[in-house]
Amino acid sequence: MSAGLLTVSPSPHIHTDLTVPQIMRGVIIAMIPALLFSVYNFGLGAVYVTLLAILFCVVIEYAIARYLLKRPASIYDGSAIITGMLLAFNVPSNLPWHIILIGSAVAIGIGKMSFGGLGNNPFNPALVGRVFLLLSFPVEMTSWPKAGATWSLDAVTSATPLGILKDGLRAGDTVPELMNQMPSYTDFFFGLQGGSLGEMSAFAILLGLIYMLYRKIITWHIPLSMLATILLMTGIFWLIDPTRFANPLFHLLTGGIMLGAVFMATDYVTSPFTHRGMLVFGVGIGVLTVVIRLFGSYPEGVSFAILIMNAFVPLINSYAKQPRYGSKSQRHKAYQEKLEKEVKATP
């Protein structure tokens, strides 16, 4: 056999199957239950918005890579598809196409490609796009169609549970009164509530979470620390004054908390490296979310909380480090002293 046929390269000679395209595919699969649910809830509008956002994101990334940066198109890793899906998940299902286009352009163009593409962006691109839209088109971004299998493109709009709560409290109503106007917790859990496209169903999002944990795409650290913090903080306020603050379960199941905890905060690029760092990150998002929800002027604060904590990631990374092997010098020193004594004791 001729030696020229053999590949020679340095070790290791085997590699994990979990490569970037595999991971991206896994995340897309994990988002499908939530997408299906919003189709059930909002009908074709959900499909239309999602497909448009994906199309815009992929085309914009391709165009920027090829014609502005003059380098090979980076769309095949699947990350632009995820950005598009996540952007769609964060907007109402009746958003006009030109707003989706603007959102996609901001998400991919400013949020991702201006920093150098995949892996270099400090902020979650989909959230950059979403917050830009929220500030620029507040009316369109906050008129959600009413949930419940409305299979037409122009449906009746309704407020989200969080919106009802915020406006009601401002008008002087108490929480128990407002709760009577809302769907039951089972409806919240399965997603029969008003809101953005993909954030409806905690159940569908949890399915996605279980899948991603099973595939070892993400770890439990960010979602759990974030959700636990929110549960704990809202719980404390609820115990202090149940007429002014809603109960923790309500907070967990409404708005974008589940979507944020599972799909947005866990984005590799914009979250810390180590498990310790992830815990700090998750707790930070939790605290900020609750503060904005309870005391801010917006009914919902997950997007802002995640973006703010994104900015802290480099700082978290430089403090929350993996313990280095051999760094337990204390134990080592004690051991050395013990050894020295032993050696001295033996004649």
């Binding site: 593409g117 590799y268 092997y325 760094s327 080592h332």
Partner: protein
């Protein structure tokens, strides 16, 4: 994070779980027929090359010294066959470098008379600790797990250091390899005597054999044989790579950590591989130098994955033919395991003292895939058994910022390859870390 009942010990920092693919675990060790010709490199160990003491045309016997150790950190090299010395020339070994090597054309199998070739177990240890170390040095025994560090050096504990534990490494954490596993199954009594010899040489009271729990049969055999031994224990370890790294094994079994830049002896431990322990037994009790070893020949397409007893210097091609030939789809041949082994370019490369296996990798898995940007997933940090930040070391080495890399403990890297294995972006992390380490070592020498 995996919750398991009856959890076995393991190391605490990092680690990965590649598929273990132990295809040849149930295949008994068979002696490979004598080759026609052997090529014995004079450097098969860490340290100085041995000095050649034979000339072309000399007749040598099996077990005769053909190259003597130069200095303390070096090792004797023996003729692994009997026959006539041929050309002494530079050949490429499994590391890809050219070294002087002695060719011997095989004639018969005529052993040195001083070697006891009887299989009977000899339990009584007659030699004094000094004589044991001397005998091991004369026999050219080196670490057989892969690094090939001369064993007599390890047994000569530096002044002022106190060793209280001998650890025997039966982990064999490299996927595919089964050489150590088979030796443990087939020569357990000899290994136990070998452990006693090493304990006597070191003057330690406590020895532990660490074995990964995918080798339940080996663990059981040792538990049976050591039932009445107070000073030698067996410990089952979780299957996790690199459990068999010296530093990781110490952390797993004793919860001690070797300080940065230090040696196991700094925390009172000496580690030897089971294969080495068997070689020590043969050297001390049978006066047999290290001239043959067990080599696993394996791979997904290999017809008969096997464990062969091979004379040092046998060309790799002989092993491959004995295992059913080279499969059509072979794309890469690795000397050693898939995580730390070296790809060889040539099938005439000789088996050396540190060659634990020959692995054939199919074409489909032989080359690397497309490299993506770092996505900051943190998997390399999670995987690093030394608790380093591999992605940063890559950037520093790439930029030539070796000073920063040194501050970030790049020299602690054990080159296990876990970071490159887990990287979803296929980034050549370990390649660049090696580059950085090499540059630092060069700077030191200047």
């Amino acid at each position: 994070m995996a919750m398991r009942l009856n959890k076995h010990k393991t190391f605490k920092t990092g680690g990965i779980h590649p598929h273990d693919n132990k295809l040849s675990a149930q295949v008994a060790i068979t002696p490979l027929p004598l080759p026609k010709m052997v090529t014995i490199p004079i450097i098969q160990h860490i340290g100085a090359p041995a000095k050649i003491v034979v000339n072309r045309g000399d007749m040598v016997k099996t077990g005769q010294i053909i190259a003597k150790h130069e200095g303390f950190v070096s090792s004797n090299i023996h003729a692994s066959v009997s026959g006539r010395v041929g050309v002494i020339e530079e050949v490429m070994d499994s590391t890809g470098f050219k070294h002087m090597a002695i060719n011997i054309r095989v004639k018969g199998d005529d052993w040195e008379e001083s070697i006891d070739r009887n299989d009977a177990l000899i339990e009584e240890i007659k030699l004094t600790p000094k004589e044991i170390v001397n005998r091991i040095m004369e026999a050219g025994v080196v670490g057989m797990g892969g690094a090939a560090f001369p064993s007599h050096v390890k047994l000569s504990v530096p002044e002022g250091k106190h060793v209280d534990h001998l650890l025997i490494n039966g982990v064999e954490c490299e996927p595919y390899l089964t050489a150590d596993h088979r030796v443990m199954l087939e020569k357990p009594k000899e290994i136990i005597v070998g452990i006693k010899i090493l304990m006597k040489a070191l003057g330690v009271q406590k020895a532990i054999i660490g074995i990964e729990d995918n080798k339940a049969d080996a663990i059981e055999i040792f538990q049976q044989l050591l039932k009445n031994e107070k000073h030698i224990g067996v410990e089952a370890l979780e299957v996790q790579y690199p459990q068999g790294g010296e530093k990781q094994l110490i952390q797993a079994l004793l919860n001690r950590e070797v300080p940065s830049g230090g040696l196991p002896a700094d925390v009172g431990v000496i580690v030897h591989n089971v294969g080495t322990t068997f070689a020590v037994y043969e050297a001390v009790q049978k006066n047999k130098p290290l001239l043959e070893r067990v080599v696993t020949v394996t791979g997904k397409s290999v017809k008969q994955p096997s464990n062969f007893l091979v004379r040092i210097g046998t060309p790799v091609i002989d092993l491959l033919i004995a295992a059913g030939g080279v499969p059509e789809d072979t794309g890469k041949i690795v000397s050693g395991g898939p995580m730390m082994g070296k790809a060889i370019a040539d099938l005439d490369v000789p088996v050396a003292k540190g060659t634990s296996g020959i692995l054939l990798i199919p074409k489909a898995e032989a080359s690397r895939s497309e490299i993506y940007n770092c996505v900051h997933c943190g998997k390399c940090i999670e995987a690093c058994p030394m608790g380093l930040e591999p992605y940063r070391l890559l950037i520093m080495s790439k930029k030539g910022n070796n000073k920063r890399a040194k501050e970030e403990h790049i020299l602690d890297c054990i080159e296990c390859g876990s970071c490159s294995f887990v990287c979803p972006s296929n980034r050549p992390i370990l390649d660049y870390i090696r580059l950085g380490k090499t540059q630092l070592k060069k700077q030191k020498n200047v």
